[in-house]
Amino acid sequence: MRPDLIEFEPTEEQQLIVDTVRQFAANEIRPQAHDAAEARKLPENLLAQAHELGLVALGLDEAHGGGGDRSAVTGALIAEELAYGDLAIALAILSPSLIGLPVTEFGTDPQKAEILPALLGPNFNAGSLALIEPDFRFDPFRPTTRATRDGGDYTLRGHKCFVPWLDSGDQVLVIAMEDDDPQAFLVPRKTQGLSATPERNLGLDALPTVELELDDVRVPASARLGGDAGCDVHSIIDRGRVALAATAVGVSRAAFEIARDYAKEREAFGAPIATKQAIAFKIADMAIEIDAARLLVWEAAWLLDSGAKATREAVLASRQAAQVARVVTDGAVQVLGGYGYIRDYLPEMLHRNACGFTTFETLTLI
């Protein structure tokens, strides 16, 4: 490896992972995407299959059986491919890392010993992160959910939304303000004072999410991620933004390919509509924007891997990728014309899913 040159190709090892995940996304995830959304239910067999690929385990702590590859670049490559299959299913597959990665990065030894074995076990075990709050003023670095020290315990109080809530999970990582500093707390889903109400949103129909009410939820001080040292929520969010941006690129690519193939097949006025510049140029613009967004994601991920602060680059990548995803998926709806509006065709769902990227803000997936 020569890190002192500009290069635009993954390592051979990364390329092998990409090829495997791409195949899994195309052959296993994509065919189930539509039905999963309509049924509002994750295909359980798929989560188990994906678990066997070990994509999440790759990034987790080596001492507990993980792969120890914390490369944000590798993570971004995986996230794009999974989301290319389907965003909701990708987020479900990656959900263990919502807890697993912050614990690997910041957790105390007892926290690692408690959390990681379950995620690395033979069965798929979902993770969950409670970050976003149902308020247009939501600031990920200054959540209104508060953590107050009370003797040997912490009391958590607040309101969260878009919290993944899969059947198998048993812990949720809650981001709350402690004095003037955002911190993360490991909260068992059965803790008293925690009430979850299932959500219905514009998209991501297959992914179960909840609104979470934290009404004086008491957790021991040992639940604070990183113990006395705490954790760096900024770093969690920077990484999460890049990961989410990578999934936005994957969704965009899926929409682009569907639009491209449809345009070459569908005839109007005696020729495929792709032979008309109005359609061809739209498809060209999609291709350009998707590649550009991917490169921004790669650059931000590379910067994270180098250990540098990457807030600016993460913001640029996630903003751009979110906008590109919205425009490209809407473009695919438009290219398909009337069929673009019909739920039997994927662009309709892809566009609703893509509209979430400006909302989710961050997901600690890589």
């Binding site: 002192d4 635009f8 051979e12």
Partner: protein, 407 residues
């Protein structure tokens, strides 16, 4: 291989070298030669010829970024001033055409004055005609073989460096002309016409919106005679689509675009960065700094716009570096070159116009260079393939359509 965005030491040395040149030699005279259109910026030309031409003090034994380094250099110079960059005494696109399609002997002969100790010289490429722009196959200029000479007739417009290349001894203009109108693109060939060749006349200089220090010439060819061996590539006319055959003439000329488009994109990026840097400085003077870690809802409109413009600029830069990197590694980059040019041309048009808006009355005023950069930037979305031509190329590539299927 591994994905990496780390510049080599050589790229950093080159960047710093040209940034210094931009600050010290270009910025101080940028406004003057915008106002005094058609005046040769002789202090800059002489400086570049004597000091700039030798290039940065890079270590040739150390790793190098190849074409990416070239893009970085171009960005720095155009951050200084794009018009002065274009006016540099170099072989420019004419040199690129000779490099891509010329024989070893032709390269040595025509490019020699650019390497020597003589006076400054320019190269140029003359393609566009009053009735033929993007549709190069429609050019009307003709070349006829008469004995051992080609005889050129026709009018060429929008020829960058056309004044220097046609008037200053040692320079040359690469002229596109057809040797067989019935053959369409297959009949189009390129010819090297040395400066001062009788029959090549400089008949006008354009008055432009921007890049005014760059000369844009109209050249008239009236029975202009050049030796037979000034033809680049073969004289054979292919009736079939020459892009599909191995004709080095047309194909070679077209291949120069794969190299030149990332360079033009890098030029655009230099102007865009100049514009954003100025905007940031002006905002900071007023105590406004861009907060990247603030909640989206708390950002001011200025901050939001600025962050979006920065993302656009970086997106264009990375597409450009990718296209350049592919070229260095001998990977076909026709698609990626057009992607970078399309993105950069549009992004920088938007960036420079938005900065004029963000800076308010100061942006519109000639006290600052923001308004000039807005005027300079737009040409990047027009020359070396308009936005639409590059979209067309990208569309054909991603749809896997030939030029006859997607017209």
């Amino acid at each position: 291989m591994a994905i990496s965005f780390e510049l080599t030491d050589n790229s950093r040395i080159a960047r710093d070298f040209y940034r210094k040149m931009a600050i010290e030699q270009m910025r101080p005279i940028a406004r003057r030669y915008d106002v005094e259109e058609h005046t040769l910026p002789s202090e800059w030309v002489d400086y570049f010829w004597q000091h700039g031409r030798k290039g940065p003090p890079v270590d040739f034994a150390a790793p190098a970024d190849g074409m990416v380094q070239v893009c970085i250099q171009v960005e720095e110079l155009c951050w200084g001033d794009a018009a002065l960059y274009l006016r540099m005494p170099t072989s420019a696109l004419g040199g690129a055409a000779v490099g891509a399609a010329g024989t070893k002997e032709q390269k040595a002969r025509f490019l020699k004055p650019f390497k020597g100790d003589g006076h400054p010289v320019w190269g140029a490429m003359a393609i566009t005609e009053p009735g033929a722009g993007s549709d190069t196959a429609a050019i009307q200029a003709t070349a006829e073989l008469d004995g051992d000479e080609w005889v050129l007739n026709g009018t060429k417009i929008f020829c960058t460096n056309g004044e220097g290349a046609s008037q200053v001894e040692g320079g040359f203009v690469v002229v596109w002309a057809t040797i067989d109108k019935s053959a369409g693109r297959g009949g189009i060939k390129s010819f090297v016409v040395p400066a001062k060749t009788p029959g090549m006349k400089l008949v006008g200089l354009e008055k432009k919106r921007g890049i005014r220090a760059s000369d844009t010439a109209t050249l008239l060819f009236e029975n202009c005679r050049i030796p037979a061996d000034h033809l680049l590539g073969s004289a054979k006319v292919r009736k079939k689509d020459p892009s599909k055959t191995g004709d080095k003439g047309f194909k070679g000329a077209m291949a120069t675009f794969d190299a030149s488009r990332p360079i033009v994109a890098a030029m655009a990026i230099g102007i865009g960065r100049a514009s954003l840097d100025l905007c940031r400085d002006e905002l900071e003077k007023q105590g406004v700094s861009i907060r990247y870690d603030a909640a989206r809802c708390d950002l001011t409109v200025i901050e939001r716009d600025f962050i979006d413009l920065e993302a656009e600029l970086q997106a264009a830069r990375l597409l450009t570096w990718r296209a350049a990197w592919m070229m260095t590694h001998g990977k076909p980059n026709n698609l990626e070159a057009s992607m970078s040019k399309a993105k950069a041309g549009l992004a920088v048009t938007k960036i420079t116009q938005k900065v004029v808006e963000l800076l308010g009355p100061v942006g519109y005023s000639q006290k600052l260079l923001a308004e000039k950069w807005m005027r300079d930037a737009k040409v990047n979305d027009i020359y070396e393939g308009t936005q639409q031509i590059n979209q067309l190329i990208v569309a054909r590539r991603v749809l896997d359509y030939s030029s006859s299927m997607l017209r």
